[in-house]
Symmetry: C2
Subunit: 407 residues, 2 copies
C-alpha cells in the first residue's frame, strides 16, 4: 500500500482519484491511498469523493504521513514551494506542471538528486501520450537529432476550427473557450509560450543540456486569418502551431511558430485537442507519437503511470539534464525551406511581373483582390528575409507576411 | 560498470556493440562491458570488434562473470535453454526474441519472478518503437480496449512494393529477399505467424491474461494479387497485414489478416519496413506509435534501452500476465464491417442484377473481365459469410474472395 498527498482537485486531480479507485477495485495490489487533498475553495468540493480528507490548509497536508506528493494545482506559486518542500523532506513528487519544470527544473531536479528521490512529470508534456518515459528511458542509446511537435491543444483546436469552418481567429477562440479548450486568459497558449515551455522540457531531455524556454523564439497564432487558410488549402496544407528543435554539433535551433503542414505529413491528421510528437534519433530513426494532449482522464493516465512507477516499480531514473550548463539557442536554421509569402499591393500586375523575375521555382496563388501569394522553395531563412526586405521597398507593396511550409 | 554476456553477433548483436561503444565514449557513466559473445561460426567474425571475447562454446560464456544476459540469437533452440539457465542463475535477461516470449513466456516470467530478476523484451515487438514499456508502465492506469498493429516489416515491405510498382506477390517477395527484408524461408512472415506471435505478446500484456499465439486466427498475404490492389486503389485504399485484438468483458477477439486500409487511417502512410501500433485505453483514448520495426540500429536501440533500464535505472516491473490462466480467443467479432468482395463469374450481366438485389448499400467495381467486385457495408462477419455461401451456389459464380476493409 502506498500513500499519496494530492495538491489540487480540479480537472486532473478528479480524474486521478477516479483512476486510483477503478484500479484498486480491479487489482488489490494497486492500493494507493489518498491521505490528504489540498484545494483553494473547500466548499466547491462538498459532493466529491474523499471529501473527508480535503483541506485548504497546506500545513495539515504536510502533517500527514505519505510517500508521494502529487501536484496538480498548476502555475508557479504556490506549486513551486510545495514541491520544493516535499523534495527537501525526501519525498517523491509527481507533477503535471510544465510551467514549474520549465522554470525551476534545474533547482528541483538537483534537490531530488541530493535527497535520492524522484520528480516525475510525464503529464507535463503532451498530456496522455507517453513521451517523457520513452525519451528518457527507451531511447537512452540514441543521440536525439530533432524534435517536432504539435503540443498545445488549445491552439490546435482553434486552428482546426478555422480550417474546417472557415471562421476567423476570434470566433474560433470563443468556441474553444465555450467548450473548455481555452482559458479565459488564453495568452500563454495562443502566443506560443505554453508550447515553448513544453518544447524546452523535451529539448532539455533530448539534448542532455538545459534548453531554457525563454531562449526559444516564439510566434503565436493570433495573426493567422481565414485568407492564410484559403492559401493553405490551395496548397494542400493545413496550418498548425509547430514546436521544432534540432541539434547540430553544439548548437540548438528552436522555434515555436505557425506553419503550413503538407497533406503527406504525419501532422496533417493531428486535429483539435490531439497532440503529436516526432522524435528523430541517430539509432532508431524517426518515431511518431500521437494521442490526447489534454483532458481529465488522458492527463490523469499519465500522472497515474508516474505514481505506479514510483510506488511499485521503484523506477529511479535520475534526470541530470536540467543543468546550469545551458545550451545556446539559435532561431535561424541554414536549411533550405519552403514558405508561403503574402504580399499586399496596389498594383497586382506590376507585382506579379516583378515576382516572376525575383523568384525562381515559385508557385503563384492569386485568390484575393489587392494581394498576391507565392509558394517559394529552396532558400534559407536568411536568403528569403533579404529578398523580402527589398520587396518591401517597392512603392506598390504595402505589407508582406510569411509563413513557413513544412513537408 | 555493468557486465553483459551477448548471445548472437548477427544484425542486432552487431548494432548493440556499436551503441554500447558510442555511448560509453560520450558518457563514462554508461559503462557496459561485454564479457563474452556466443556465435555459431567463430570464423565469420574474425574482423569484428571485441574479437577476443567471441566463442562458440556456451560453457565458456556461463563460466564468466556478468550481470545481464542479452539473447539475440533468435528462434526457440538453443535460445530457450540459455535464457532459462541464466534466469535460474538469478541473472537478468534482455531478449529481442518474439518466438521465445510468445511460446515460453509463461515459464520464463515465472522463473524470473521466483528469482527476483527481470526478463526484458522491448525489441521483440515493433523493433525500435517503444511499445512494451509504454504498455506495461506508462499506461498502467488503463484498461486497454483494443490493439491494432502493422507489426511485420517483411509483409509490409512486400505489400508496399505491390501497391507502388503494380507487381505480383512473387516478384515483390523476391525483391524483399534480395534487399534483406525477407528471409530465404519467408513462411513465418508471409503466412502471418510472426505477426500473430507479436500480437499475442501485446495482447497478453494489455489484457493482463495470457493470449496464446496459436489461438489467434491467421491469414497470410500469399493470395493477395495485383487485381486486389487495383480494387483497393479504386476504393482509395492500400492493403496491409493488420494484427487486431479487442477485449470485451471476458472475451478476446484476435486476428491477423490482410485488410483494405482507408486513406484517412493512420496506417495508410505506414509503408515498407515501418511498423505502427494503435492502442486504445479507457482513460487515455487512442494512442498511435509509428517507427522502424526492424533493422540493425533501430532494434539495437530497443535492446540497449532495456539494458540501461536494468543496469542503471533498477527498473523492476514484474510481468504477471503470461499466466496459466489463458484467455479464450474468438475469431468473429459482432461489429458491422465493410468488405471488398470479388466474384469470378461466367455471366457478369446476370451476376450484377443479382448482386443489386442481394446487397443494399454496396458499391460495384467493374475493372476486369470475368469478375465483379463489390464494396459492401453494414453486415457482421457472420451475416456476410451466410450471404456469400448462397452466392456461391449460383451456377455462374466460380469463386468468391473477400477482404475486410478498415477505416
Ligand atoms: N487539464 C488538462 O487537460 C491538463 C493537461 C496537461 C497538464 N495539465 C496540468 O495539470 C495541472 C492541473 O490542471 P487542471 O486542469 O486540473 O487545473 P484546475 O482544473 O484549474 O484545478 C486546479 C486545482 O488546484 C487547486 N488550487 C488552485 N490554486 C490553489 C492554491 N493556491 N492552493 C491550493 N489549491 C489550489 C484548485 O482548487 P479549487 O478547486 O478549490 O479552486 C483546483 O482544485 C496544471 O499544471 C496543468 O497545466 C492539465
Ligand atoms: N534483424 C532485425 O531487424 C530484428 C528486429 C527485431 C527483432 N529481431 C530479433 O533479434 C534476434 C536476432 O536477430 P538477428 O537479425 O540479429 O539475427 P542474425 O543476424 O541471424 O544473427 C543471429 C546470431 O546468432 C548466432 N547463432 C545462431 N545460432 C546459434 C547457435 N545455435 N549458437 C550460438 N549462436 C548462434 C549467429 O552466429 P553466426 O553469426 O556465427 O552464424 C548470429 O551471430 C531474433 O530473435 C530476431 O527475431 C531482429
Amino acid at each position: 500500500m502506498k500513500r499519496i498527498a494530492l495538491l489540487g482537485y480540479g480537472v486532473v486531480g478528479t480524474g486521478l482519484v477516479e483512476l486510483i479507485e477503478k484500479n484498486r477495485e480491479k487489482d488489490e495490489k494497486l492500493n494507493i491511498r489518498v491521505e490528504a487533498i489540498l484545494v483553494k475553495h473547500k466548499e466547491k468540493h462538498n459532493n466529491k469523493k474523499l471529501n473527508q480528507v480535503i483541506t485548504e490548509d497546506c500545513e495539515e497536508v504536510f502533517s500527514k504521513d505519505w510517500d508521494i506528493l502529487v501536484e496538480v494545482i498548476g502555475g508557479i506559486n504556490p506549486a513551486y514551494s510545495y514541491v520544493k518542500r516535499a523534495l527537501e523532506l525526501g519525498k517523491h513528487v509527481v507533477t503535471a506542471n510544465k510551467d514549474l519544470i520549465a522554470e525551476y527544473g534545474e533547482e528541483l531536479f538537483q534537490i531530488a538528486k541530493d535527497k535520492g528521490v524522484a520528480l516525475k512529470f510525464e503529464a507535463s508534456v503532451a498530456g496522455g501520450i507517453p513521451i517523457i518515459k520513452p525519451l528518457t528511458e527507451s531511447l537512452s542509446g540514441n543521440d536525439i537529432k530533432s524534435i517536432k511537435g504539435i503540443i498545445n491543444g488549445t491552439t490546435n483546436f482553434i486552428l482546426s476550427k478555422m480550417y474546417e469552418d472557415g471562421v476567423e481567429y476570434g470566433e474560433a477562440l470563443k468556441e474553444a473557450q465555450d467548450r473548455g479548450f481555452a482559458e479565459a486568459n488564453p495568452d500563454a497558449d495562443v502566443l506560443g509560450y505554453d508550447a515553448a515551455r513544453k518544447l524546452a522540457i523535451l529539448s532539455t531531455l533530448a539534448f542532455k543540456k538545459r534548453v531554457f524556454w525563454k531562449d526559444i523564439k516564439v510566434e503565436g497564432i493570433t495573426s493567422i486569418d481565414s485568407k492564410d487558410f484559403a492559401y493553405a488549402k490551395k496548397a494542400n496544407c493545413k496550418i498548425k502551431l509547430l514546436s521544432y528543435s534540432k541539434k547540430e554539433e553544439n548548437r540548438v535551433f528552436a522555434t515555436v511558430k505557425p506553419v503550413l503542414i503538407d497533406s503527406e505529413s504525419d501532422f496533417y491528421r493531428v486535429n483539435n485537442e490531439i497532440n503529436s510528437v516526432i522524435l528523430s534519433g541517430d539509432a532508431v530513426g524517426e518515431l511518431v507519437f500521437k494521442g490526447s494532449g489534454a483532458g481529465m482522464l488522458p492527463t490523469a493516465s499519465a500522472v497515474y503511470g508516474d505514481i505506479v512507477d514510483l510506488a511499485f516499480n521503484k523506477n529511479n531514473v535520475v534526470i541530470n539534464s536540467f543543468s546550469e550548463d545551458k545550451l545556446s539557442v539559435e532561431h535561424r536554421s541554414e536549411e533550405k525551406i519552403q514558405s508561403l509569402i503574402r504580399i499586399d499591393t496596389d498594383n497586382k500586375k506590376e507585382l506579379i511581373l516583378e515576382l516572376n523575375n525575383r523568384f525562381t521555382a515559385a508557385e503563384l496563388l492569386d485568390l484575393f483582390d489587392n494581394e498576391v501569394a507565392l509558394l517559394v522553395d529552396g532558400y534559407t531563412e536568411m536568403e528569403l528575409e533579404e529578398r523580402l526586405i527589398t520587396l518591401k521597398q517597392l512603392s506598390y507593396v504595402n505589407r508582406v507576411k510569411r509563413i513557413l511550409k513544412v513537408s
